[in-house]
Symmetry: C2
Subunit: 337 residues, 2 copies
């Protein structure tokens, strides 16, 4: 921002130093076929480029060709598990092979047009974003800027169509699997917790709904009670107190492994034996399940194939087509609880 | 990439539709002071811009002004905790207020010049990256491209100087605090685990060193044994078997809370009472500590101030100065183990 600031080397700098035209430099550095430039000139240009630390400018390239090679992954507030991290890493590498750069943006919590405007200003080829942050007007703005939209998260299908691709999580299926397991084990008086907080509540409500559907489908008169819960040991203790007052449920679906971990601690503090007095099922199958004693039974979302999913997302970006993915299969992992 | 593809609206499109010059459009949309454009024209230009979904092009802006507003956060393989996520979010918002866009890149695992070249191609103003991925030649390349470098992680100070800023973690201090606590409680036969795997091993070795220094400093003849451990219940069981063979240590520093969680499970499986037979201290103070029974004692890295740290990083980026930060203070959180 001041005049003494060093300036990145340009093609012009290299051309001057090498005593050739900028076109020649450009030919050499781009390995353009069919140009008859002597090898000695090529070598000189390359060594000057190295010396000056010349690096081609990605956004200059994208401006020249009139399209962007940026894919924007909008994400925040999220504690990534190892599975999500691996998926993100694979997607980055595979997009890079196709000439795209995947960058993650964790800025303001806006949604709708305001958010879409921020993303569009970066002129990406595509935006991958939780569907909750999309509105029809926001999608319209992105479409006008020729930006592919890939909506992720719970029930991403809500925004499906009109060019919007979706990457859906099967949270209803997680609830189904938990319910089938518990009813199948002979439990009839089931309970579930639903986390407070916007995003988690939506996921929790779907998982609860899945549990209720599985209980109803079994046709054995199983019932499901539910309570709200905060992400704290105090809230877990309060939930357990309520159950002790109302009558201990035969089995609990604890939303996910972490909430179940808090519930297990609170049940143990209250002297409740798990699973003898109350069975407990978590979800996500994180390492925590194998730290706890008794070890936590859980529902795992098994990815079909990270490779195949990444490939489909790349197809949406490069071929500008709509894809709809739901690549996770809920699988019960039975342990001690 | 084909001719039927919609094209984002440009200033020229707006000018044509409004029947004014592109300069007029530019004046209106940039709210340029001192231009005498009638309010009716301004209104017309703005409504056409809205209708066409016009969004200014961030990288066009950065090309025009000759400097980039992109700050690149290079990160992968990392399971973010809530503290890191909040820090990242705050930094993004504060940089945005200063006109910068923070984007995260989780691509290839290169280091040195190869990695630096990839980052430099995106022409950021600054790169925030784990110091392990920097080499002198890589730093030199970034400097030539006028990119500020902020090195993070364990012992980031190794690459300090020559314009490289550092954001250091006090892992030595974590070991000190754990050691002071355990020796202070009267334990003399201490043990620690060091995780296998490149990045974790480096952190673990520093934490172990801190523990050893604290034991030596106390001058009471305390000793520290150490074992390598994988991130698995099987490896935890093997560590506990070795301890049972060699004689159970009076107290264990379990590297972090998660490794300690695995060790606690393995100790319980072996019938070892914690803390009566063996005390246990974790690190990071995550929610897991309050799920486990007994509840896990831990060392927490307390951030001085996310605000102040973000402010210093912004200073490094905007004022192009070197800053050296070590904003975390290790604090012991005593619980049951």
């Amino acid at each position: 921002m001041t005049s003494i600031r060093p300036r990145p080397a340009t093609i012009t700098d290299i051309a001057k130093r090498a005593g050739v035209s900028t076109a020649t430099v450009s030919y050499v550095l781009n390995d353009a076929p069919g140009s008859r430039i002597p090898e000695s000139t090529r070598t000189r240009v390359r060594s000057i480029a190295d010396e000056l630390g010349y690096v081609p400018h990605a956004s200059a390239r994208s401006l020249r060709k009139g399209s962007s090679d940026l894919v924007l992954y909008v994400q925040m507030d999220v504690v990534h598990g190892p599975l999500a991290a691996e998926f993100h890493h694979q997607l980055t590498l595979r997009l890079r092979d196709m000439g795209y750069t995947l960058l993650q943006y964790g800025g303001e919590r806006h949604r709708g047009v305001k958010a879409a405007r921020t993303w569009a200003a970066m002129r990406p080829s595509a935006v991958i974003v939780e569907h909750e942050r999309l509105t029809p007007a926001g999608i319209e703005l992105l479409r006008k800027s020729d930006i592919q939209v890939i909506a992720t998260g719970v029930a991403a299908e809500a925004v499906k169509g009109d060019g919007v691709s979706t990457l859906n999580m099967d949270d209803l299926g997680v609830g189904h699997r938990a319910g089938e397991h518990l009813v199948g084990r002979g439990y009839r008086d089931l309970a579930a917790v639903v986390p407070r907080g916007n995003v988690l509540r939506r996921i929790g409500t779907l998982r609860l709904q899945g549990l209720q559907e599985a209980a109803a489908r079994a046709g054995v008169g199983a019932t499901v009670r539910s309570l709200d819960m905060d992400w704290s040991p105090e809230s877990a203790a309060e939930v357990v107190r309520t159950w002790l007052d109302e009558g201990l449920p035969e089995a609990v679906f604890g939303y996910n492994d972490e909430f179940s971990g808090l519930l297990l601690g609170a049940l143990q503090d209250a002297g409740v034996r798990v699973p003898e007095q109350t069975a407990l099922v978590g979800a996500d199958d994180v390492m925590l399940c194998r730290m706890l004693r008794p070890r936590l039974t859980s529902v795992r979302l098994e990815p079909a194939s990270i490779e195949a999913t990444a490939g489909e997302i790349i197809r949406a970006v490069t071929e500008r087509t709509e894809v709809h993915l739901s690549p996770w299969t809920p699988v019960l992992v039975r342990r001690d609880t």
